[in-house]
Symmetry: C2
Subunit: 177 residues, 2 copies
DNA sequence: CATGCCGATGACAGTCACTGTCGTCATGAG
DNA sequence: CTCATGACGACAGTGACTGTCATCGGCATG
């Protein structure tokens, strides 16, 4: 018999997303989230750095970066980036409902939109770093990463709006521009 | 004899930058900034939305957007963006010392770096909007704006580090990639 | 079985960013 | 002169976030 219910982090995240969706981000206090999860406010901050972070998981980031790092040495930077985008697309194609719900919460709140910008910036920095480790020169790595993120965002926006399940198609079309 | 010293906003900004530089951003409270400026904390928030905003003026943004809007109708999107970048470069070439000092403050603090990301994202959105008003199609406008911001950031980073006064040269070289 | 360390959590007090509201008073329009 | 207005001070309040210590099951070790 363990002392606490399992998966505290998951309970906090779910409680937070529910309440952000139901009452809005600003109207939800961390204490309320913790209470719904059967925990205390202090414990919330042991699992998440701040009130926003609970929304941003970072799994897509991991796929993007690891695919970049694992691309064949012969691939050009943009080929590696494209491969990473494809891999991230597969992850997104599952989790579609969850992702759309989360995105609705973000769309409803300026503060979370800022958090998203920060997340994208960190993503670009991480991708640039991954490219540099493959031997791509510094400035070029930064620009390729920025381009990758820009394409990702454009495709993601369509993907969220679209009813059908397409991701590759959208991606390729943006990339042609 | 007026009731208050003039230029409250300027005094607050200067006091803030001094204290951020001397003691660090986190170690500086808004009450301290206001006290050094001979004002109250409440008045600080009448001039700036939050503790970060005092660092981000937004003048470069104005130049970028207005140049975009004023570009000749015959110019392609990327030509307009390049012209805007050049105009912003001229503004930066003056104010060089001030800009470098401010950038040192930002570089020393993660929270301000986040603010910078947000600022860049807002800039990209504004530039995209300006392009759309010139008749550029939606997605293309977004990507062109993102590209412009990416080039701006890469050039700005070099410009900050370099001892000499060059901006155009750096810009052009990035653009060629 | 006894002992003692460890890790996740609770309890609690404290700081500070930010907001709402009301009072004050020089200034300028009429 | 009168009155509205703009810019500020005073003050109280909320809530995000942090530091610190106490608690107590689980586990290894002897």
């Amino acid at each position: 018999m363990s002392r606490w219910q399992p998966n505290a982090r998951g309970r906090l995240r779910q409680a937070a997303l529910e309440m952000y969706g139901e009452h809005g981000y600003d109207q939800t206090t961390v204490a309320q989230i913790a209470e719904r999860a059967g925990l205390t406010e202090r414990t919330f901050y042991r699992h998440f750095a701040d009130k926003r972070e609970v929304v941003f998981s970072g799994e897509v980031r991991d796929v993007l970066v690891s695919t970049l790092a694992g691309a064949p040495p012969s691939a050009t930077p943009m080929q590696a980036v494209t491969a990473a985008l494809d891999a991230a697309g597969e992850v997104l194609d599952q989790r579609r409902d969850m992702t759309r719900r989360r995105q609705a919460v973000i769309a409803a709140n300026p503060s979370l939109q800022q958090g998203e910008q920060v997340k994208y910036a960190a993503l670009a920095a991480d991708m640039a770093e991954a490219l540099r480790e493959r031997g791509v020169e510094g400035v070029a790595a930064g620009l390729a990463a920025d381009a990758g993120v820009a394409v990702f965002r454009a495709a993601f926006e369509r993907w969220i709006r679209a009813d059908e399940h397409r991701y590759f198609g959208g991606l390729v079309r943006e990339t042609l521009d």
